[in-house]
Amino acid sequence: MWNWATHPISGLSFLGMVIGAVVILLLTLLVVMYSIYWQRKLIGWIQLRIGPNRVGPFGLFQTAADVLKLLIKEDVIPSKADRVLFLIAPILAFVPAFTVLAVIPMSQHHVFTANVSIGALFYLALSAITIHGVMLGGWASNNKYALIGGMRSAAQMLSYEIPLGMSVVGVVLMAGSINLNDIVIAQSRSIWYFIPQILGFIVFMIASTAELNRTPFDLPEAESELVAGYHTEYTGFRFAFFMLTEYVYLFAMAGLFATLFLGGWSGPFLPGWLWFALKVFLYISIQFWIQATMPRMRVDQLMTFSWKVLLPLALFNLVITAVLKAVV
């Protein structure tokens, strides 16, 4: 982390931070664009369709065209909506999802990211803020579907935050550090943690899927029940922001997944950033694969599952890890 005591902020270092943030933003947008493209292609193939192939070679510019379309759409704010909250909500959802990327070590050299000593905690704390954006968006729209969608999201994300955090704690215990970079280094010295932390790995996979509101936990956006969930009333750019949040968060979660369980940037032969990219790609592809295969869970089963199955499992994992750590 930036040491404020020894390095007082100067014009040059501030400029460096701004450039870093902009580069990360651009990188994120690129990743988001092509993960959406990849989602549509992959699911298309699974469903025996071709997927986007019209805009640009192999449809590579499809997402760009879609975003452009959203940008030139009319920005509708329902007259009965709570104006201020309605405007704040997409930003509130987007900012934390983007900020957490700052602490994910994308390569061994922290070129544009911060080497924060409390990385994992920082990630979990900030990602929890996204819920407010979603909930406020649903509330402020003054629409019944959006309200139900928003409330569902809030309940779901809160319930799954806890097992998610618990599964992360298992990894932290093993590595003996909350610093994400240290966790990667610890893994590169021993073994990727998805093997010793297999229980935590499973809990993380499930809880992160729920956290991202993806199938089979995509209840907040249950199309057949709720039309489009919390962003039903959003149009144009604000809608794009919610979509962006979803995919940025997916990227961030993939980064966390790679860092915690698959050894982050560490790996033989290839450069660190490439290893990181491959692992992120793996996580994202698994998410899309699940999306193409699974039906949706029911809302009450969802809660039961989180509190009665995942949480005890995560706690059990934690106890085992602690005991083993003390014994070995």
Partner: protein
């Protein structure tokens, strides 16, 4: 002692929610006014009629063969069965002899149609539950069937194929072989759906024990078809009141045990297999000969009242004709299985939550073209 603010129970409000008519999961234009408290449905009222085209009234101005295209548009997923149901009633009224080959062709297209319709049920049902892929898979098999129909009658959706006294066209050369080639392919695909869907834990948890009703209720509401059979009551008009040449074929009537949404889903799978068996036997037994019997140029049904029902894809599909001896019916009443099956819906929904609403509505299996006529 007055309660303080914190001691008072939380004040909740009921909410009136309009599901439809332009809702993504109502399969057409169907509106459901649900009163919900939280996510629990307190009451539901189906509002129908958005697709009403006055088929029954229109029929009073049409000659019998002219009504057939209108029946195509009732349950547009099972047009062949609708065609046949009308023609069958008229034939019964006239006492017409239908050539053997025509009967066989009818059975083949009707069973293929039943498969196509059931396939779409499975696809849309899974789509309602949030799984998108099966919906796209079923269209592959359905496409093969639709292609077969296209070859025999030149239409993909509204066939107008079955006529009073027979069928319009004989099978083109090689058509029967194509049907035969379709059978093993279809068996394989049914097995695939069984593997893909039936074993999915999430799916099972969503449909088991949901939307349960017993045989008495089903009979009291006049339900038929899979909705009735799912309660364990073995009732299939092809067996119990054989029409056409169904008494010549060997097939089983699968029934459910619990009367829940899972049984209704699974019966669709099983019935497709039985339909394939019938098609197979029909292909083996089909004779040569004419495809249209001796039918008068202008069909005049003798004065009287006639009813006959067949086993449609969704239940008993019946046409009730009142004739005053003219070439047009005095009154035509259609017993629409979708409409009848829909009546129990509010009872099934009460007390369930919103997610079950979709699961139950989907499993009752309605087609709005038929509900509204």
């Amino acid at each position: 002692m007055a309660l303080t603010d914190q001691q008072q129970p939380i004040r909740t409000e009921e909410m009136l929610l309009n599901v439809g008519p332009q809702h993504p999961s109502t399969h057409g234009v169907f509106r459901l006014v649900v009163k919900i408290s939280g996510e629990t449905v307190l009451d539901a009222e189906p509002v129908i009629g958005y697709l009403h085209r006055g088929t029954e009234k229109l029929a009073e101005d049409l000659q019998y063969n002219q009504i057939i295209p209108y029946t195509d548009r009732l349950d547009y997923l099972a047009s062949m069965l609708n065609n046949y149901a009308l023609c069958h009633t008229v034939e019964e009224a006239l006492g017409l002899e239908v050539p053997e080959r025509a009967e066989y062709l009818r059975v083949i297209v009707m069973e293929l149609q039943r498969i196509a319709s059931h396939l779409l049920f499975i696809g849309t049902y899974l789509l309602d539950l949030g799984a998108m892929s099966p919906f796209l898979y079923v269209f592959q098999e359905r496409e093969r069937i639709v292609q077969l129909f296209n070859e025999i009658c030149g239409a993909r959706l509204t066939y107008n194929y079955v006529r009073v006294g027979g069928v319009k066209y004989d099978a083109p050369p090689g058509w029967l072989d194509k049907v035969r080639a379709f059978i093993p392919f279809m068996y394989e695909r049914i097995q695939m759906y069984d593997d893909l869907i039936t074993g999915n834990e999430i799916f099972l948890r969503r449909v088991r024990g949901i939307g349960v009703f017993d045989t008495e209720t089903a009979l009291a509401f006049g339900m038929s078809g899979i909705n009735l059979r799912s309660t364990g009551f073995r009732w299939d008009l092809r067996k119990n009141r054989p029409y056409s040449i169904y008494d010549r074929f060997e097939f089983d009537v699968p029934v459910g045990e619990h009367g829940d949404c899972y049984d209704r889903y699974y019966l669709h799978l099983l019935e497709m297999k039985q339909s394939l068996r019938i098609v197979e036997q029909a292909l083996d037994g089909i004779p040569d000969g004419p495809t249209l019997g001796k039918v008068p140029k202008i069909i005049r049904v003798p004065a009287g009242e006639y009813y006959s029902g067949i086993e449609g894809a969704r239940g008993e599909l019946g046409f009730y004709i009142v004739s005053d001896g003219k070439d047009k019916p005095y009154r035509l009443k259609i017993r629409k299985p979708s409409f009848v099956n829909l009546q129990l819906l509010p009872d099934l929904l009460r007390g369930r939550n919103m997610a079950d609403l979709i699961a139950i509505l989907g499993a009752v299996d309605i087609v709005l073209g038929e509900v509204d006529a």
